[in-house]
């Protein structure tokens, strides 16, 4: 491959002649375009006789000389001339960049868009809940449309396969609460109350809340990603055309499975946390397991369990709905699947925590202390 210097320049009949040689290609174009900018002479003649190879970028440079500086092209072979003509024909005003608003307006614009999206999501979720209820009604009226296999499969994915990670997490959280509680309560000589702390916080709040967060991360995101990809792949549209309702076939099994699995997982998480705390108290506070279990039975009222069993299905509903809703909102690109998945998890966890606060106030109000 010849990489010869750029171009020779001389004056002939009062016109400035640029004689290019070697390869007029992308490889050399960077230096060349700078050098050509520097030439100020008008009435240029571009001599291509000695050019060995020219690509479209080279042709573009020549075309630019012809267009902007009125250069005359001589010595081009037929192919080179075709190429230059091609490039010249393609010289249309093309919008390459997006238009940018001034910063202040940009800020206002983003604020407005964010508000609009938030409102839209609220309304959308409400509408989605309505559609969910309608399809639940439809399934109750036509029990044959209930997809038993799909629901059982979701039981497995949402519930059974989550046992390991939720169990381990709750076990560790139980140990942490016991350890932190013991350190503080020791100052009052009230170490025995560590058991109250473990039992009540695990059964009433932590078990179900931690489970909700884990399920949102595991299953809420998976729902959004699955439905999002199906939407991109036009599977959801295909389903609708065939006459299968995506609400009944895709959303209902997922929501139902999550609603039913959440209380079970929450209860399991609470038990695991108590076991973790029990082992810690046994090891470091020398409280024997028998005493620990007796004490737990005394201090944890039934209402604590009822509370978490009431909260869990509601949390499950919210998580599954946020996941499915965001998944079905995907349009356009693969990037959006990722964005929607993130949104589904964030929204799910956020709404769970907000609702948890409301539940706490409510249950206190009705005297379930």
């Amino acid at each position: 491959m010849t990489v010869t210097p750029d171009f020779a320049r001389h004056v002939e009949d009062g016109r400035c002649v640029l004689r290019f040689s070697g390869n007029l290609t992308l490889l050399r174009v960077r230096k060349l375009s700078e050098q050509l900018e520097a030439i100020e002479a008008d009435r240029l003649v571009v001599d291509l006789t000695e050019v060995e190879r020219m690509d479209t970028v080279g042709a573009w440079l020549v075309h630019k000389l012809e267009r902007d500086r009125g250069a005359k092209i001589v010595g081009a072979t037929e192919d080179q001339q075709t190429l230059i003509d091609h490039v010249a024909a393609a010289d249309q005003p093309v919008k390459v960049r997006r238009e940018h608003e001034p910063p202040f307006r940009q800020v206002l614009f983003e604020l407005g868009t964010a508000t609009q999206t938030a409102m839209g999501t609220m309304v959308g979720l409400l509408g989605f809940l309505g559609a969910m209820i309608i399809s639940t009604g439809n399934i109750i009226r036509h029990p044959r449309r209930f997809r038993f296999n799909a629901v059982v499969m979701r039981f497995d994915v949402v519930g059974v396969r989550a046992l390991g990670i939720i169990g381990l997490m709750s076990f560790l959280v139980g140990i942490v609460i016991a350890q932190q509680g013991a350190v503080q309560l020791r100052q009052f000589g009230a170490e025995i109350y560590t058991i109250n702390l473990i039992g009540r916080s695990a059964v009433k709040e932590l078990g179900v809340l931690m489970t909700a967060i884990m399920v949102a991360g595991r299953s809420g995101s998976a729902f959004a990603a699955q439905l999002g990809s199906m939407k991109l792949n036009e599977e959801v549209d295909a389903m609708r055309t065939i006459g299968v309702s995506p609400m009944e076939a895709l959303v209902f099994p997922r929501v139902l499975a999550t609603v039913l699995m959440m209380p079970l997982l929450g209860f399991y998480a609470a038990i695991m946390a108590i076991i973790g705390g029990g082992i810690f108290t046994w090891m470091s506070l020398d409280i024997p397991p028998i005493t620990f279990v007796q004490r737990i039975r005394e201090v944890v009222p039934d209402t604590d369990l009822y509370q978490s069993l009431i909260k869990a299905p509601v949390f499950g509903l919210i998580i599954a709905m946020a996941g499915c809703y965001q998944g079905l909102q995907v349009e356009g690109s693969a990037e959006e699947v990722g964005l929607r998945t993130t949104t589904a998890v964030v929204q799910g966890i956020f709404m769970v925590i907000v609702l948890d606060a409301f539940f706490a106030v409510f249950f206190t109000g009705i005297g379930w202390l």
């Binding site: 290609t25 992308l26 490889l27 174009v29 960077r30 375009s33 700078e34 690509d55 479209t56 970028v57 573009w60 630019k64 192919d79 080179q80 075709t82 190429l83 091609h86 490039v87 024909a89 393609a90 010289d91 249309q92 005003p93 093309v94 919008k95 390459v96 960049r97 997006r98 238009e99 349009e331 356009g332 690109s333 693969a334 990037e335 959006e336």
Partner: protein
Amino acid sequence: MAEAEPIIRVRGLTNGFGKQLVHDGLDLDVRRGEILGVVGGSGTGKSVLMRSIIGLQTPQQGEITVFGEPMIGRDEEEAKHVRRRWGVLFQGGALFSTLTVAENVQVPIREFFPGIGQELMDEIAAYKISMSGLPADAGAKFPAELSGGMRKRAGIARALGLDPELLFLDEPTAGLDPIGAAAFDQLIGELRDALGLTVFLITHDLDTLHAICDRVAVLADRKVVAVGTIAELMALDHAWIQEYFNGPRGRVAANIAEREEAAT
């Protein structure tokens, strides 16, 4: 580089997924400056062949040389200077969805020639976009905002980004309207003449085959069963080839091609 040396040389290529063999001892040469059409029924491994040549799939056996350099077992860095000399259009366009069309076109240029100024880059992107037949406002759009046919054109603009010597096209005219497909055929033909391109073209489009392909390779029975001009292929006694070129669609395309030739 000797002229006689083919640009792509495939020998004894064997590819398979699990127990199923896609290619079994496949041989193929692509000569410099030709447009080679690759045809074959669905599932005969046309795309797999292309993926093997461009190094996206490691074959079980066989050797592949491109520009006289062996491609199998090369590491990324070594293969890079070969990659610079080809452009690939995937079936769905495979545009980067987070970049605008213009930025997509600039990706290969930026990667291999980082020093080129932004202004010149924009100009290059602009004429490439308009050369591949996209409307003027397409450059600033994201791929998700384009129709399927426009995405394909944007994919072509990106494949042509580095002014490659060798172009791989996987069903470029599928999904284009007939006018767009004809314009695309013409574009490829002209670019080949002007740039001395070599084109490896997978297609089902009989019109494209008649209009621009110099030779056609037929994939069947896990091999290339025949390579030649359409006239040569039609003289062969192979059931699939006969059905392909002499079937109702093949005859129509042949007639049109003849008429066009008579007109010029």
